[in-house]
Point group: C2
Chain length 663, copies 2
């Protein structure tokens, strides 16, 4: 419309056309699709390898969101086919609720169209850009349309739509739409051809799916790579995460303009009901208090709020005591999954210290609730001379790119890690040392730095929360290091006492011409520890680990001892062999020793076993840590199953989708 | 429109409403203004201090672009007023061509509206988002409308428009529009109130304007800070940078979809004329070659190009020899300004080495020409134990934020600087050492990572160019370090020869019973250098620097010697004292010495002076570098003039704008 207006204006003054008019001639509206066609890097399409990960990510995020919203356990099929050099076809199919026929073109063929933009609750997609951006990138780089098949429960048939985006108008252009028999009750399948490059390893589709599976254990994800290799990331739990509930805006951090907008558009007639009904955590009692502090008459019409009055309201919001926003709009990963996430990237590396993950209480930025979770592992076989590895998640989605731009990285860089035992030049920057740090930010609106959703913006409130959480991890790390030092000092003391005391006793006995008294009680009194250490005997291709427990306390001790040995190598033990650890019930008299053992095969690179104790005060134990609750959860539950692509399986897959390929 | 379609679809099936229908009910179009209102961090508004810089930047970038396009020497007035706690009013006024009345609301009140989006040439604004985003942020945070006054030459009066953005529609909402007498011939003034915080120092409005002035020496920028302090960044040259010319797309790097789009929309009738007319650097001869290599009939209608045929065309583009894109669409900063930019941040610090800036030849990414320029200074008083400082520019605009996300930083991090003499852990990451690196990327379309235009995306072609340019700087740095080492070895040799030779001569003369021969010619032959060194005498609060020049060559030498002493401290010299250096005309016989001096006051922290020579082969000079051409350009030319705000000045300013404030 404005374009014509503009040209009309030109006609008016067209004769004596000065520079301002010449420039005006060029001024015109830009469609959002045109904008992104020319700025595809903003959507994350700035390299061929990244384009593939971004595309799969958008499709899978959509599928997960749709399933969860419909309270369906997600079952997602991802396939990547190599069409020709640098051209790949991405297929993503889900068992979600499907999309009604009329909306299919809009959901996939129009940017800035979506259902979750206005809802205040945690979800992966919020912008209404993601998947249509992939469609746009596909047609830009391969010239090919996108195929969508979707079926909803209420309809007999699915609909297959072939579409592109009319970039000048940002409208879908449907090439073909036909009903189709599909043997799914409901679901959506999308097939997009894009210019891309397939890689394995770091920052790959595989890594993205694996990390996604870990923090979404309720989802089953099947992945078929271009060479036909099929991996199933199996569902680890049949329990859906509690559904996130949509909430009203929280008064903290809301902008003046937003408040004015809300007040102008409200259907309420009085300021009091406006505040009570349209905000979360504002009770009638608090409303009264707010009005009083803002010097406003509670019965006034909210539509008549002036800028000055709105400002006073905002000030009053800060002065009253408001509860934190409800947390059921958020879905944190939780301790267990944070640990799993960390354990997964560790592979066969075994750290010596696992910090207890920290989940902060929810806070608010610009009216949006958010929660920060962090985890850390340290030591052991992790590389000592490299920057710590950072794992980032936002709303249960792994972030693989733009680490340098992310508030998580900035928070990590601004903590002085030297005081917690990591190396860090000048107390700033990413610390160096044997550690992995995981950070998850969950929010009803994650403030991404761009539409590519690769990094979280440096919002002061979020940064502060991450820093506080990290410092709490840091204190744990320092404590661990203090304890380690204490152990080494204790060792010194132990040997001194054990050497000197008998000598002194012998001499003294000699002098006073009396028999040597029993020393153990004295030593125990001095030491007051339960001592656990190991010694290793090599026997050909296996090694025997001898575990010694010494009770240098004056009390009888009864506890459980766990040995977290390298996985899959155990061949013998006098303890109870569990799937990935050995367990002993220890029952030991004061001033006495007990000996245990376990034998490992193929243990060339054996470093040391981590010991844990349960049922004894960890303060008196040297050489073992308290059992970290749910640490030894079975990782195998969500471990991927890699199938060799044999003919039968291949056919199975083919068959299921044959209907679709048949045009 | 789609919204209604959607709701209509709902009515059809409304009775038995399943989950897919319930979800469909929420699906709707999102206006781009709504999108950014909820995602203001994407526009750079993620902290209060940053919001101010971003807002000024968008307004000033617009003013510079408008002036340059109209070939007017920019004269820009920037004022920041503190309205109340955390509320500031930004005023930016220029002498540009103005905006025609009808377009004012659209330019400032509609996102994705602009004149430079489709033009392939270098400009600051390209997105049509910047200034309307500031208007949006202003109304969101203060509830206040934006005031624009603009006058074009052809009109008698200016128009004043008070406007906000209707975010639901992304359309301007004009509150008031009145004609106004304005004593400017042409120009635009904008006044926006925003929530912000004012700071000085790093990443401030001041820093942004200062750096902008340096790389845009044709612009005069007046800046009035909230406390009334007025700084004028004076125009250093009356020469506008050569106007950038709009070009056609270059075939290299163009996407398949773009090619197909161009072919479908062309007004040409034959493939040959399509290629020749609509691409840059494609001559009729090359067109013939392309068609042959693509197995395409030159007379075919381009509108009928199939995907397969377009693919063959793209392949053929790569196979023929195409000239690099024309460079007159780009406007590099150039050597002199790179040096000025570096010198400016140095302040009173004096590095010992200035690398010769490197400007690469233009290259192409995705059809967009770009050019990379880099500069480096090293050593002297720059801090040795900190990461190198990075100065980033894109299309002559300083980039102050998101350093970690920028391709410039990634390129710097991936060069192994250890081989060039900087410290770097593992040969990766930002190197540590006494250096400042400047990188400028100029392009017809800078691929920013987001609409905030704070960082350049990691586009492989751009990264490679930056890396190559940096390595070339690195080699200069290594050479400098090699020379430094050579000097120290030469010193050793010099003293050895000077000590041993006379001794040997004495002994030999004794043995053969002859007089000692004159040794200087022999020493000169061995050394063949002109030796320059200094010694320092302290005298109370001043120091005297004695400069010794020794001609250990067999020839008469005549050259100019420059001493780049710490600024502003000179009190006496036997040379010619220039504003910021001392100069001696040296005329020296073979095998002889000359002595010079200069005296400095308050030189407690005196380190050493850098010496430069002119008119002598630098290869035979030890202790001085060749004069780096235009290095000693007068910085003061573009140095800011800080005026104390006295009453008179204040009134002057007031008066000029009185008309405007008078409603």
């Amino acid at each position: 419309m404005e374009k014509y207006l503009n040209e009309y204006a030109l006609l008016e003054t067209g004769c004596a056309m000065g520079i301002a008019h010449r420039m005006a001639k060029k001024q015109r509206e830009i469609s959002v699709a045109e904008f992104f066609e020319k700025n595809k890097q903003i959507l994350g399409f700035d390299s061929l390898t990244k384009a593939l990960v971004v595309s799969v990510k958008e499709a899978v995020d959509n599928s997960l969101d749709a399933c969860e919203e419909a309270e369906i356990l997600p079952d997602i099929y991802v396939e990547i086919q190599n069409v020709s050099k640098d051209e790949y076809k991405i297929i993503v199919e889900d068992n979600g609720p499907g999309i009604i026929r009329r909306n299919i073109p809009l959901v996939f063929g129009k940017l800035l169209y979506g259902s979750r933009f206005h809802a205040i609750r945690q979800s992966r997609g919020q912008q209404g850009i993601g998947i249509s951006a992939v469609v746009l990138y596909g047609q830009l780089t391969t010239g090919k349309p996108t195929r969508v098949i979707s079926k909803i429960k209420e309809e007999e048939v699915a609909y297959e739509v072939l579409l592109t985006i009319d970039t000048k108008k940002n409208e879908p252009r449907v090439i073909k739409e036909i009903p189709k028999i599909w043997d799914r009750e409901q679901g959506t399948r999308i097939e997009i051809s894009i210019r891309a490059r397939y890689v394995r390893g770091k920052q790959s589709v595989y890594e993205y799916l694996q990390q996604t599976a870990i923090v979404n254990p309720h989802a089953q994800i099947t992945f078929v790579e271009p060479d036909g290799k099929k991996t199933i990331f199996k569902r680890a739990t049949d329990k859906l995460p509690p559904p996130t509930r949509e909430i009203k805006p929280h008064p903290h951090g809301i902008e003046l303009g937003e408040l004015l907008n809300m007040a102008r558009n409200t259907k309420t007639y009085r300021l009091t009901s406006f505040l009570t009904n349209e905000f979360s955590r504002v009770s009638p009692k608090i409303t009264e208090e707010i009005c009083k502090k803002a010097y406003l008459y509670g019965d006034m019409r909210p539509q008549e709020l002036s800028i000055e009055e709105a400002k006073r309201l905002l000030e009053a919001f800060k002065k009253v005591k408001l509860m934190a926003p409800p947390t059921d709009c958020l879905s944190p990963i939780g301790e267990t999954l944070i640990k799993k996430g960390l354990k997964n990237v560790l592979g066969s590396l075994r750290p010596s210290f696992y910090a207890q993950p920290v989940t902060r209480t929810p806070k608010v930025y610009s009216g949006n609730p958010f929660v920060v979770e962090v985890g850390l592992v340290y030591g052991g076989e992790l590389p000592k001379d490299q920057p710590v590895r950072i794992l980032r998640f936002a709303n249960r989605v792994p972030l693989l790119y733009q680490q340098g731009a992310c508030v998580t990285t900035k928070a990590i860089s601004s903590v002085d890690w030297r005081r917690y035992g990591l190396e860090q030049r000048g107390g700033q920057g990413i610390p160096v040392g044997p550690a992995i740090i995981l950070v998850h930010v969950a929010s009803t609106r994650v403030p991404f730095t761009s539409e590519a959703k690769e990094a979280i913006a440096d919002v002061p409130e979020i940064r502060e929360e991450i820093e506080l959480a990290l410092k709490s991890l840091g204190r744990q790390l320092r404590l661990y290091n203090v304890k380690k030092e204490r152990k080494s000092k204790m060792t010194e003391k132990f040997f001194l006492v054990n050497k000197l005391l008998p000598e002194i006793a012998r001499k003294s006995a000699e002098i006073v011409e009396k028999p040597i008294p029993p020393l153990e009680p004295v030593i125990s009194k001095i030491m007051n520890v339960v001592w656990i250490d190991e010694s290793v005997e090599k026997e050909e291709d296996k090694i025997k680990v001898n575990v010694r427990v010494a009770n240098f306390t004056s009390k009888h001790q009864k506890f459980v001892l766990y040995g977290d040995y390298p996985l899959g190598n155990l061949i013998d033990t006098d303890g109870i062999a569990e799937e990935d650890y050995v367990k002993w019930d220890v029952d030991i008299e004061p001033v006495s020793y007990r000996h245990f053992y376990f034998t490992l095969k193929d243990a060339d690179k054996y470093g040391e076993t981590n010991y844990y104790v349960e049922g004894i005060s960890p303060n008196i134990v040297i050489g073992a840590e308290p059992l970290p609750g749910d640490w030894n959860i079975k990782l195998s539950e969500i471990e991927e199953i890699v199938e060799d692509e044999d003919m039968e399986n291949g056919e199975d897959v083919e068959e299921e989708f044959e209907v679709i390929d048949d045009e």
